[in-house]
């Protein structure tokens, strides 16, 4: 069960988006994904490369560029449905203001020939035309200082900043309009450990200081999420395979894929330190032509013939766990216990 619900800031119902290739093939990288993030809550999304995490991040924003196309489902931000809105209206009233985004590669996220403050001016003016430059500067300075960045950064060009500094500048810029929801797509994966820590701290600060209300944090490092977010969602091949509180997913996961994912990473947390590392054999399925049954079947240790028959639904058990597998929770637990011995 996910953490007790407060008012939902971001609600996504059965969102499906696809890439349309040059050869007119559709690739469903986000397949009927539903999630909900409450006020003051954070959700982590984990999965291996190519599972659709980044596409989900792009899809959540509600503004689509080819080759990514919206197919079905809805996105509701603080009670306002943004799917189906006029794209120009979304750009003006939603992007950066209601929902904002931190890109994966902050290294190149800033225009190399523009001072940081001028970019911030363009962002603010796109939403509030006519704001005096002085006011924008004051606001940017205040926000940067609140987040522990020197105001002198504003006058600099991106090339004059170090990698970690650039990433933190991007974060501060993303929240300049105090968006309700922030989507962070692997904001720390390209950085060294020290910068990573600073970036994570900064993102947590955004929540603590009330600059943003809800956070969606995407990463391939499942254990990192344990310290950052309240809930965790695990994705595989464009679908949600398990969703639950951070504790449940990290220490007591039900789905074989989540188990395998945890088993393949070194976890510094107590109780998991001594677990032997095991790789997940095989590769994720090609989404151009996904298998008809369970998408994880080919790599699953506990696969049964009936797994491959029909698509498996995400379901909630009596004990409140949500996962996508045909094997009952109790039976899975027995299998895991049996393996330990």
């Amino acid at each position: 069960m996910t953490t007790p619900m407060t008012r939902a800031m971001l609600e996504v119902n059965e969102l499906t988006t696809r890439y349309i290739t040059r050869f007119r093939e559709s690739i469903y990288a986000v397949d009927h994904v539903s999630l909900s993030v409450g006020d003051g809550k954070s959700l982590g999304i984990a999965g291996e490369s190519g599972c659709g995490k980044s596409t989900l991040a792009l899809s959540l924003i509600g503004y689509y560029f080819p080759p990514l196309h919206y197919t079905s489902g809805e996105i509701i931000i603080d009670g306002r449905t943004i799917t189906g809105m006029d794209p120009d209206e979304v750009r003006k009233t939603i992007l950066g203001r209601e929902i904002s985004y931190i890109p994966q590669a902050a290294m190149n996220a800033l225009n190399p020939t523009q001072r940081i403050i001028h970019f911030i001016e363009d962002v603010v003016l796109a939403h509030h035309p006519g704001t005096p430059k002085k006011e924008i500067y004051e606001r940017a300075r205040e926000r940067f200082e609140l987040l522990g960045l020197p105001a002198s950064v504003l006058q600099k060009y991106p090339v004059e900043l170090s990698g970690g500094m650039k990433q933190r500048t991007v974060i501060a810029t993303s929240v300049i309009l105090s968006p309700k929801v922030l989507i962070a797509d692997e904001p720390s994966s390209a950085l060294d450990v020290t910068s990573q820590k600073m970036v994570i701290k900064m993102i947590l600060d955004l929540m603590d200081k009330g600059i943003i209300k809800s956070l969606v944090f995407i990463t391939h490092e499942l254990p990192l999420l344990y310290n950052v977010t309240d809930d965790i969602m695990v994705m595989y091949a464009g679908q949600v395979v398990e969703i639950g509180s951070a504790d449940e997913i990290v220490f007591d996961s039900v789905h074989p894929y989540t188990r395998a994912l945890m088993g393949s990473i070194i976890v510094p947390e107590k109780g998991l330190r001594d677990v032997k590392l095991t790789a997940i054999p095989g590769t994720p399925p090609n989404l151009k032509n996904p298998p008809s049954g369970c998408r994880f079947a080919d790599r699953c240790k506990y696969v049964r013939p009936e797994c491959r028959v029909a698509p498996v639904d995400l379901h909630e058990t009596a004990s409140g766990r949500v996962y996508r597998c045909i094997i009952p929770e109790q039976e899975l637990r027995t299998l895991y216990e049996h393996e330990k011995r």
């Binding site: 750009r91 985004y101 004059e160």
Partner: protein
């Protein structure tokens, strides 16, 4: 010296003289005037000293005019023809390339092959095509010269009109070739920039498309400035062919006559001017880059 140029002048001056000693005297007089009786290294030192004083000596093929006089009367025509042509070609080429990158689809499909065709056409090819179509067949424009041969240069309206009419074909032949090359370069740079991460990020923060396009074109333009400096630097030698085909009274034509007439002082002087222009263009480019591209400044301050 091969094809002794002094001998050519002496022969010209001694025409009709039957006295062998007289011809010999004329030859010796010119040998002394041009200093060709001295050893080559010494000639070179004398030449350098004179050049530093701004004296390029006498032109051999157009004696008794000085080299300075010949060049100053032709360089104006070249600058007036090529500088505007290169600038217009560069601006139009960049605009078209940028539009092709932004619009893509049909516009791009027409512009790209056209640009490739234009930029790969040799200068003389373009000049000859324009010449045949517009001057020979349609007779809209004159075939050669900088102005009507029957006129004497003056500040009259008729003369100005004649200059403008004669200007068109050489001008557009240079413009068209420049457009082709610049459009191709700009198109690929702009497409590259349009796919850059900063474009996506700016879009996701709701920045207006008009602003984003401005970022992209500014950044795509930077490498194109090198192309502009290169064209300006080499304009005298680069578009020489266009001048020759249209018998335009510019520096290109002067070089051709100099080479034909074995006019060494004139060849040296024009070569020197071309060298200076290239160096000057690149020097200005270096300074300009420091001002417009913050990445260069940051690299220097490290």
């Amino acid at each position: 010296m091969p094809g002794d140029p002094v001998a050519a002048i002496a022969a010209r001056m001694a025409q009709g003289m039957s006295n062998a000693t007289g011809v010999q005297a004329v030859y010796e007089q010119y040998t002394e005037l041009f200093g060709t009786d001295k050893p080559i290294p010494e000639q070179f030192v004398i030449y350098l000293r004179n050049v530093l004083r701004g004296d390029f000596g006498y032109s051999i093929s157009q004696y008794p005019r000085t080299v300075g006089d010949v060049i100053s009367s032709s360089i104006g025509w070249t600058l007036m023809l090529q500088l505007p042509a290169i600038l217009v070609g560069w601006i139009l080429g960049n605009l078209l390339g940028a539009l092709a990158a932004y619009i893509r689809k049909g516009f791009d499909r027409v512009l790209m092959p056209a640009s490739l065709f234009l930029s790969n056409l040799p200068a003389f090819g373009m000049a000859v095509i324009l010449l045949v179509i517009f001057a020979v067949n349609l007779k809209w424009f004159p075939t050669s010269g900088g102005y009507d041969y029957a006129m004497v240069p003056s500040a009259s309206w008729e003369f100005m009109w004649s200059v403008i009419v004669h200007y068109q074909l050489p001008f557009w032949s240079i413009v068209l070739i420049t457009i082709g090359g610049q459009a191709i370069g700009m198109r690929s740079m702009a497409i590259y920039e349009l796919n850059a991460d900063y474009v996506k990020y700016a879009r996701f923060l709701g920045v207006k498309d008009s602003k984003i396009i401005r970022y992209v074109f500014r950044n795509a333009m930077l490498p194109q400035i090198t192309g502009l400096a290169l064209s300006i630097g080499t304009m005298v030698s680069g578009a020489l062919v266009a001048e020759i085909i249209f018998s335009y009274p510019g520096l290109g034509n002067t070089i051709l006559t100099a080479v034909r007439g074995g006019d060494y002082p004139l060849i040296s002087a024009t070569t020197l001017i071309i060298t200076w222009m290239v160096l000057l263009a690149f020097f200005s480019l270096e300074i300009l880059y420091g001002l417009i591209d913050p990445r260069i400044k940051a690299a220097q301050s490290e």
